[in-house]
């Protein structure tokens, strides 16, 4: 077992532990911070799996932007009002969660073969120098040459988000 495998195991375990902490913590701010830790573990996993672009973007978008939004929301709510009862309510909920997790796992295991991973796999040997820049170029090719239409659709989606935000927020302000 090389260094890479050890680090992968450490971060996989960390990601799982923090994810479990997120769903079992009652304090919402704690949960948000544990989620940040979980995301950082995921980012390290991506980097170790030769997808450094994804790792860095994970930190930039999720930890640096989405979690700020979450924290804003959580901090602006009255924190004392939430989290009185346990996160897990009864065996039914636990069983449901486990079933969903098993389904997702099965989906990943059987779906992994179908994903055209070769397009995104680095040209150089795994972990060779320059893998970061190569990774970016390959993602860019996939995104802008084959997926140009999807990319434009994302633009429209973002526009929808802007409009929705404005409609929701301004209606609140006017009332």
């Amino acid at each position: 077992m090389g260094l890479r495998e050890v680090l992968l195991a450490v971060f996989a375990f960390g990601a799982l532990a923090f994810a479990l902490a997120v769903v079992s913590t009652r304090n919402t701010v704690y949960a948000a911070l544990e989620f940040v830790a979980h995301l950082l573990c995921l980012a390290a996993l991506y980097c170790l799996l030769d997808a450094p672009l994804l790792g860095v973007l994970q930190v930039m978008v999720y930890a640096g932007a989405i979690m700020v939004l979450f924290l804003f929301a959580v901090m602006m709510l009255d924190i004392q009002e939430t989290g009185r009862e346990s996160a897990f309510q009864g065996p039914g909920q636990v069983a449901g969660a486990l079933l969903l997790a098993a389904l997702l796992f099965a989906l990943l295991v059987f779906g992994a073969d179908r994903f055209p991973a070769a397009a995104l796999a680095p040209a150089a040997a795994p972990g060779a120098p320059g893998v970061g820049a190569d990774n970016v170029v390959r993602v860019a090719r996939a995104l802008f040459e084959r997926g140009a239409l999807v990319f434009e659709a994302v633009g429209v989606l973002l526009l929808t988000a802007v409009v929705a935000v404005m409609v929701m927020a301004k209606r609140r302000l006017e009332n």
């Binding site: 680090l7 170790l48 939004l69 602006m76 009255d78 860019a140 988000a161 802007v162 301004k170």
Partner: protein, 121 residues
């Protein structure tokens, strides 16, 4: 392997920062006094007694700023990989693809501006 080593280097660096932090705090804990009193335990609100709950609700505009930032941040994130292959591979076609994407978002920006989303009122 090289990249794994880079990740490890950064991790060790981060661990060393943590150790440094712990050391500084420990030194000040040893050297500093530990005298609690009721005044020190209170939040410092300019000498007056705190009134009302601390974690009250805040104005929606903070949330609005954060969500608009998020949208534009995602846009910037798309631009990074685009920029790296614009000159060597995409050329003028690339400019059209990105032009259309940006036009849609500039429209969003204009809408937000008109609706007063940028006013801190």
């Amino acid at each position: 392997m090289a990249f794994t080593v880079t990740v490890m280097g950064l991790l060790i660096f981060a661990a060393a920062v943590a150790a440094n932090f712990a050391g500084m705090i420990l030194t000040s804990t040893i050297l500093g006094p530990k005298r609690r009193n009721s005044v020190k335990d209170q939040p410092f609100e300019c000498g007056s007694l705190p009134v009302g709950p601390t974690h009250t609700r805040f104005h929606i505009r903070f949330y609005l700023t954060a969500i608009l930032f998020l949208i534009f941040d995602i846009e910037v994130v798309f631009l990074y990989p685009f920029i790296t292959i614009l000159r060597p591979e995409l050329g003028v076609t690339g400019l059209w693809i990105m032009g259309a994407f940006l036009a849609v978002l500039v429209f969003g920006l204009a809408y937000e501006w008109r609706r007063g989303g940028m006013e801190w009122d």
